[in-house]
C-alpha cells in the first residue's frame, strides 16, 4: 500500500494551515470561559471554540489593575476539559506570553486589547510563530497592518465587557465599508488608498480584488443577545466572539444555545424570535457613552 501514503514532507505553521483553522470556525460562536466547568457548558451549548481567560472583560473593567496572560494551569485545565479549539490571550506586543501559550499547545493566540498592552509601539511578529493569531481591529487599515504582521484571523474590536453593541457595529461597518470602497477604486487609485490606510500595497490590492479580507473576519466586543449576534452576521461578520455576554447573564447555558442558534440562522427572524424568548436576564452592561476615555479598551493597539 506504499503507493497510497504521503509523498512529501509534511509542513506545519504555514499561512494556509493557520488561516485554515479560522475557516473551520466560520458561522460559529467563540465563548469566553474562566474555568473547566464554563468550558464544558460552552461546548455543550455548541461553541466552536472557547477563549480561556482568568477574568471576563466585564470583571477586568470592574477590578482595574494590570490584566495579563492567564495562569497556564488554568488554561491547561480548560484544554483538558473540552475537545473544541482553545484560544488564550497575550498582551499586545508581549511575545514571550505568546511563546508560553504556543508551548502550552493552545490552538489560537488572541493578541488582545482586553489585556493591558505590553509594548506601546510594536505588536508581536506573528509570522515567527507556529500557533496562529487573531487580532482586533477598529478599521480596515488596522486589520491590514495586523495581517501584514502575520495575523491569521481578524475580529472587529467593539468595546469588550460593556454588553453595548454600538462599537462592534462601528468597527464592522468601518472594516466592511473600507473593503467595499477599495473594491470600487481604479487600479492606479489603490496606491493612495494604501497610504491612507497605512497598509502594505500588496494587501490593499488583494482586498480590492477579493472584496473581502484575505483572512476570516469575526466580530467581538459587546454582543449580549441572539439578535446582536445575528445583526453582526448580517453586517458581514463570518462568526461571533461572545465574552462577558454569556456567563454574566442570568442563565448562561440557555443564552449560549440561543446565541449559537441565532448565529447559524442569522438571516431567519422567526428563528431569532423563537430562541430569544424567556432567556432570563441579559448582562447588565455599561453604556459605552458613559465610559471615561481611560476605560475604553478599543483604543489600545493601533
Amino acid at each position: 500500500m506504499s503507493d497510497l501514503t504521503s509523498e512529501s514532507t509534511p509542513v506545519t505553521g504555514t499561512d494556509r494551515v493557520k488561516r485554515g483553522l479560522a475557516d473551520m470556525l466560520k458561522g460559529g460562536v467563540i465563548m469566553d470561559v474562566v474555568d473547566a466547568e464554563q468550558a464544558r457548558i460552552a461546548e455543550e451549548s455548541g461553541a466552536v471554540a472557547v477563549m480561556a481567560l482568568e477574568r471576563v472583560p466585564a470583571d477586568i473593567r470592574a477590578d482595574g489593575g494590570v490584566a495579563r496572560m492567564s495562569d497556564p494551569q488554568m488554561i491547561e485545565a480548560i484544554m483538558d476539559a473540552v475537545s473544541v479549539p482553545v484560544m488564550a490571550k497575550a498582551r499586545i506586543g508581549h511575545f514571550v506570553e505568546a511563546q508560553v501559550l504556543q508551548a502550552l499547545g493552545v490552538d489560537y493566540v488572541d493578541e488582545s486589547e482586553v489585556l493591558t498592552p505590553a509594548d506601546e509601539a510594536h505588536h508581536i511578529d506573528k509570522h515567527a510563530f507556529t500557533v496562529p493569531f487573531v487580532n482586533g481591529a477598529t478599521n480596515l487599515g488596522e486589520a491590514l497592518r495586523r495581517i501584514s504582521e502575520g495575523a491569521a484571523m481578524i475580529r472587529s474590536k467593539g468595546e469588550a465587557g460593556t454588553g453595548d453593541v454600538i462599537e462592534a457595529v462601528r468597527h464592522m461597518r468601518a472594516i466592511a465599508g473600507g473593503i467595499r470602497h477599495l473594491a470600487t477604486l481604479a487600479p492606479e487609485e489603490r496606491y493612495a488608498a494604501a497610504k491612507e490606510h497605512r497598509a502594505p500595497i500588496d494587501l490593499v490590492e488583494e482586498v480590492a480584488e477579493l472584496g473581502r479580507l484575505p483572512v476570516v473576519l469575526f466580530t467581538a466586543g459587546g454582543i449580549a443577545t441572539p439578535a446582536d449576534a445575528a445583526f453582526m452576521m448580517q453586517l458581514g461578520a463570518d462568526g461571533v466572539f461572545v465574552g462577558s455576554g454569556i456567563f454574566k447573564s442570568g442563565d448562561p447555558a440557555r443564552r449560549a444555545r440561543a446565541i449559537v442558534a441565532a448565529t447559524t440562522s442569522y438571516d431567519d427572524p422567526d428563528v431569532i424570535a423563537k430562541v430569544s424568548r424567556d432567556l432570563g436576564e441579559a448582562m447588565v452592561g455599561r453604556n459605552v457613552d458613559g465610559l471615561e476615555q481611560g476605560e475604553r479598551l478599543a483604543g489600545r493597539g493601533w
Binding site: M1, L4, T5, S6, G20, V48, S83, G211, R212, G236
Partner: protein, 229 residues
C-alpha cells in the same frame, strides 16, 4: 432593511465580486453543502469546478430534491448539535440509508463514522450521523500547532493531491465493506485518511482549503451514476 441580508460566511462583502464569491450553477447534479457551520463556501466553489449545482442546506426542506450532500469541515461537536437543533439528524440518517451519496471532510468524516474516539482513544460522546463502518479518532495528529499540509496520492484521483490537515482526525478502523483510498505516514505507522463505502466518501483532510477538486470530481461522478439509477 426589512429583508434579512444573506451571505455565506467568508463570502465577499460585495455582490458578485471576487474569486471567493459562491458560484451556484444551475446545471449538473444537485449537490447540497450542509451550511450550519464551517467552511461551506470553499466546498461550493469546488462543486462548481466539478460541474455540479451546489446549494446550501440548513433545513429539512432544503434536503428535498438533492442528488448528493457534502458535510464540510468545521467543529464536529457543534455541527452535530446544530443538526439536532434543526431537526435534520433523523431525516439525514434516512436519506443516507436510502443511498444518498455523501462526501464528508474532516468534521464531515467524523459525522459519517460509526463511532468517534477522543484524541487519546476514549469514546467521544457526541451526536453522529453514521453510515460508514468506520471508527474515527479525533484530533489524532495533535492540536493546531501540529496541523500540516503535504502531498499525497488518492486512489481514483489523478496525480497527487495537496492535502491540508487541520486538527485532523484519522480513520482508526475500517469494516470489511470500506475501501481505503489514501493513507498518510505518521510516527506510529501509516494511517487511513480517505475511505469510501458505496456512495459515502470520507476525507480526514481538507481538499477544499487547497482548492483541490479531485475528490469533488470523484464524488460528482458517483452522484451522477446514482441519480441515473
Amino acid at each position: 432593511m426589512t429583508t434579512p441580508r444573506t451571505r455565506v460566511p467568508g463570502e465577499a462583502l460585495l455582490d458578485d465580486r471576487g474569486p471567493h464569491a459562491a458560484q451556484r450553477p444551475t446545471e449538473g447534479p444537485r449537490i447540497g453543502v450542509l451550511a450550519l457551520q464551517g467552511d461551506v463556501l470553499e466546498h461550493l466553489r469546488l462543486l462548481a469546478e466539478a460541474g455540479a449545482a451546489g446549494r446550501t442546506v440548513r433545513s429539512v426542506a432544503d434536503l428535498e430534491a438533492l442528488d448528493g450532500l457534502v458535510l464540510p469541515g468545521g467543529e464536529s461537536t457543534t455541527i452535530g448539535k446544530l443538526l439536532d437543533l434543526q431537526g435534520l439528524t433523523a431525516p439525514l440518517r434516512d436519506r443516507i440509508a436510502d443511498g444518498l451519496p455523501v462526501l464528508g471532510t474532516c468534521a464531515g468524516a467524523i459525522l459519517l463514522a460509526r463511532e468517534a474516539l477522543t484524541h487519546d482513544g476514549r469514546p467521544s460522546p457526541q451526536p453522529l450521523l453514521g453510515g460508514m463502518d468506520t471508527v474515527v479518532r479525533r484530533n489524532a495528529f495533535g492540536r493546531q500547532v501540529a496541523s500540516f499540509e503535504t502531498d499525497l496520492a488518492v486512489e481514483g484521483v489523478d496525480g497527487t493531491m495537496h492535502a491540508v490537515f487541520i486538527r485532523a482526525p484519522w480513520i482508526e478502523e475500517v469494516g470489511p465493506g470500506v475501501e481505503v483510498l489514501a493513507r498518510v505516514d505518521t510516527p506510529l505507522g501509516a494511517r487511513v485518511v480517505v475511505a469510501r463505502q458505496g456512495p459515502l466518501l470520507a476525507s480526514a483532510f481538507h481538499p477544499e482549503l487547497a482548492g483541490e477538486a479531485g475528490l469533488h470530481r470523484l464524488f460528482a461522478a458517483t452522484v451522477r451514476e446514482r441519480s441515473r439509477l
